[in-house]
């Protein structure tokens, strides 16, 4: 199991700029679920102009407003984006939501402006859409079971040939409202449109990210003990019920 020497390093990408819709709850969830198991979390913020340290186990990349999205896209062009890509290729875990998800694709095409380049971790392309998708979402996944969240986006994301979706939409609109997919995944990175915050009421996904991150740092891996998760399950169930009632 774990002892005092077990650590996990969590990096919040652009936390001061890309943190709308309570996305910081995902960072809180990762840190607390580590702490409750005696694993010491270190949380760092990587801002504009900061480099990507080599020893990050888990990245979190949230959503932002248009102005911030442009600044972040510029910051990721060049070496920094390459370093982030390399970390993911080497097995670092990543959760990206909304704007962060879009910038991990090839590009984001705004309505009446130049495309914003992404770093191409996911084989997806996003564009501004005519309609805003707002409401509770339920998706079914193979690895993490049912996930519940809240979507609020006008961007449409289209999967390329080599892309794997995160899951299938049961309630809500998902990537684009058309093909029934939500999110994308590549190695230990997942991207999606689910706010909520997502991880506190989907603890299976939270623990999967933690395990993937710990695997990278501690070669033999770290088995996570169960936390019971009664409060998490109740929040999950009530979100599931509201999704069915409201959409």
């Amino acid at each position: 199991m774990s002892d005092a020497s077990t650590r996990v390093k969590i990096a919040w990408l652009y936390g001061s700029r890309m943190n709308i819709y309570g996305d910081r709850g995902n960072v809180i969830a990762l840190a607390q679920r580590a702490r409750w198991r005696g694993i010491e979390p270190e949380v760092i913020d990587i801002g504009i102009g900061d480099s990507i340290p080599d020893d990050v186990d888990i990245f979190f990349f949230g959503g932002g407003q248009d102005q911030e999205q442009i600044a972040v896209s510029q910051d990721l062009a060049g070496d920094k984006g390459q370093a982030l890509r390399a970390a993911i290729d080497n097995g670092a875990a990543m959760l990206a939501i909304c704007g962060g998800y879009q910038l991990l694709g090839h590009e984001y095409r705004p309505y009446n402006a130049e495309p914003l380049p992404g770093i191409g971790v996911f084989d997806v392309v996003s564009e501004a859409g005519p309609e805003r998708f707002i409401g509770n979402v339920v998706i079914d996944t193979d690895e993490w079971g049912t996930l519940v969240g809240f979507e609020n986006h006008s961007g449409l994301t289209w999967l390329g040939e080599s892309a794997t979706p995160m899951g299938r939409v049961r309630v809500g609109r998902g990537n684009n409202g058309k093909d029934g997919t939500e999110g994308a995944r590549y190695r230990n990175a997942v991207g999606c449109y689910l706010h909520g915050a997502l991880l506190p009421k989907n603890p299976k996904l939270a623990d999967w990210l933690l395990e993937a991150g710990l695997q990278r740092r501690h070669e033999s891996g770290v088995a996570l003990r169960s936390l019971g998760d009664a409060a998490e399950r109740q929040a999950h169930e009530s979100a599931l019920m509201r999704a069915v009632q409201t959409r």
Binding site: D66, F150, A231, A235
Partner: protein, 474 residues
């Protein structure tokens, strides 16, 4: 009065619209379905879309329009009270129903059938999304812009989008309109920097009530000119403060009204000095918390822009009582319950700051009631932007209830509140309210922190059980 109301005798279409509005409101009230705050406006507008414009243009002293994310109900009530004290009886959407149809309903209810508006000055509290439309329908004499915070993003879209929608509406205002603006809000300062209307700026210069860092709920912390992160000489509430841009030098403009020497008295009241030019005036008001110091400063600046003398403002504020449900004390079953509306991260953080100010933690039993209906915001993600970690010290028991009570309980768990202090009550307030009150010792105090529709329901239950009056009787 009636025959000269518009100079052309009685306007039949307007009278017909007022008649259907009043009939609809009476029907709703007889049917017992609450205060009837929006349906009358909806039907009246179908009969006469010009209703609001006609009624407001008949107001001798013009209209004050109040917009902003937080505090607009309290502030517009302060403004209405001080105008009344100055001899201008106000027509006001006092119940806080602030979408276009709610404003129309309120003005229709207060007008005579012949179209006399029912007062000499208008006070319109405007929803953020409705402001541009209301500015087009009504030509206000004074527009107050108090703050822009992240609030119910599922309804309003992102903050930039609101600012971008407001800006053209503000640019169209004529030069005889006065815009009273909170210059401590960088976004509001920027979108009023170059408009035709006269601009009156207010802000704080306060030494004792500063925040150390921007909270997680803070918005708009970058420069509207060059995009760099803003810095602050002093930060007061969320992103409100004495801001400047270290890169391009853009900074808070010169203030016309300055608040200082604030003394906060727990959950009861506050004192503040308001400085206008060379004159500084101490004002006392019976509402608590630093955010209400901003509301007070805004109301005083609006009062002065409307020509009200400072001593009249001081007297009106001294007599001011809290707006419905914002902060309110209720005697119930031998306990004192303090209800404070919570509707977004910044407002919630200020309430938590107030509740923990004296001991540094929470000692009083507290019930948090979270609904996710349209008026609450359907997305409960915002709970993760509230600094509930503040409550981890202290021994007060914490309860969660409401449609999303489970999300709230989970949030408190992740905030590090020990399990033995946490209770998950049933979702429905009929059962959770008394179960919570049972945990308060007789003669003791408890806090209830509800979202908007939760507050309405809890108020109704308390009213039915004999504790308080229903709000449309105010």
């Amino acid at each position: 009065m009636t025959t000269k109301a518009n100079g052309f005798g009685i306007d039949l279409r307007l009278s017909a619209a007022l008649l259907v509005a009043k009939t609809t409101a009476a029907g709703i009230r007889v049917a017992g379905r609450g205060g009837g705050t929006s349906a009358p406006g909806l039907v009246a507008e179908r009969v006469d879309p010009g209703l609001l414009h006609k009624l407001t243009s008949r107001l001798e002293h013009g209209v004050v329009m109040v917009a902003g994310t937080n505090g607009k109900t309290t502030t517009s009530r302060m403004v209405a009270d001080l105008l009344e004290a100055a001899g201008m009886p106000p027509v006001h959407n006092r119940s806080g129903s602030n979408l276009v149809r709610g404003v129309v309903s309120a003005f229709a209810a207060q007008a005579s059938l012949a179209g006399a508006p029912g007062g000499t000055v208008g006070v319109i509290e405007a929803d953020e999304a409705a402001l541009p439309q209301l500015l087009a329908m009504v030509a206000p004499r004074v527009v107050l812009l108090s703050n822009l915070f992240r609030d119910q993003l599922d309804r309003y879209g992102e903050l930039d989008a609101i600012a971008n929608r407001w800006r053209p509406a503000l640019e169209r205002l004529p030069s005889n309109t006065t815009v009273v603006v909170n210059a401590d809000d960088p976004t509001l300062a920027a979108i009023t920097s170059d408009i035709r209307a006269q601009v009156v700026r207010f802000g704080m210069n306060e030494a004792n009530h500063r925040l150390d860092t921007l909270s997680h709920a803070a918005d708009a912390a970058n420069c509207r000119v060059c995009g760099a992160d803003l810095a602050y000489h002093a930060l007061y509430v969320s992103h409100l403060g004495d801001w400047y841009c270290p890169q391009c030098g853009y900074a808070r403009p010169v203030l016309d009204f300055t608040g200082s020497d604030i003394e906060l008295h727990g959950v009861e009241s506050l004192d503040m000095c308001v400085r206008e030019g060379e004159t500084s005036t101490p004002i006392h008001v019976g509402v608590p918390g630093l955010y209400n110091a901003y509301n007070l400063l805004a109301a005083a600046a609006v009062g002065r822009a409307m020509g009200v003398e400072m001593p009249v403002i001081v007297g009106a504020m001294h007599a001011f009582r809290s707006a419905f449900g914002r902060i309110e004390r209720v005697a119930y079953r031998g306990r004192t319950l303090t209800l404070a509306l919570v509707k977004n991260p910044v407002g919630f953080n200020e309430v938590l700051r107030m509740l923990t100010a004296e001991t540094g933690g929470l000692e009083v039993p507290t019930l948090i009631a979270i609904n996710d209906l349209y008026a609450d915001g359907r997305d409960v993600s915002w709970l993760w932007d509230v600094d509930f970690e503040l409550l981890a010290s202290g021994g007060g028991p914490l309860g969660a209830t409401g449609i999303r009570g489970a999300d709230m309980a989970n949030r408190l768990k992740y905030a590090g509140i020990p399990e033995e202090r946490l209770t998950r009550y049933p979702d429905d307030f009929e059962s959770s309210l008394d179960a919570f009150v049972d945990t308060i010792p007789e003669g003791g105090a408890g806090y209830i922190l509800p979202t908007y529709t939760a507050m309405l329901q809890i108020r109704k239950i308390l009213a039915d059980r004999g504790a308080v009056e229903t709000f449309w009787k105010q």
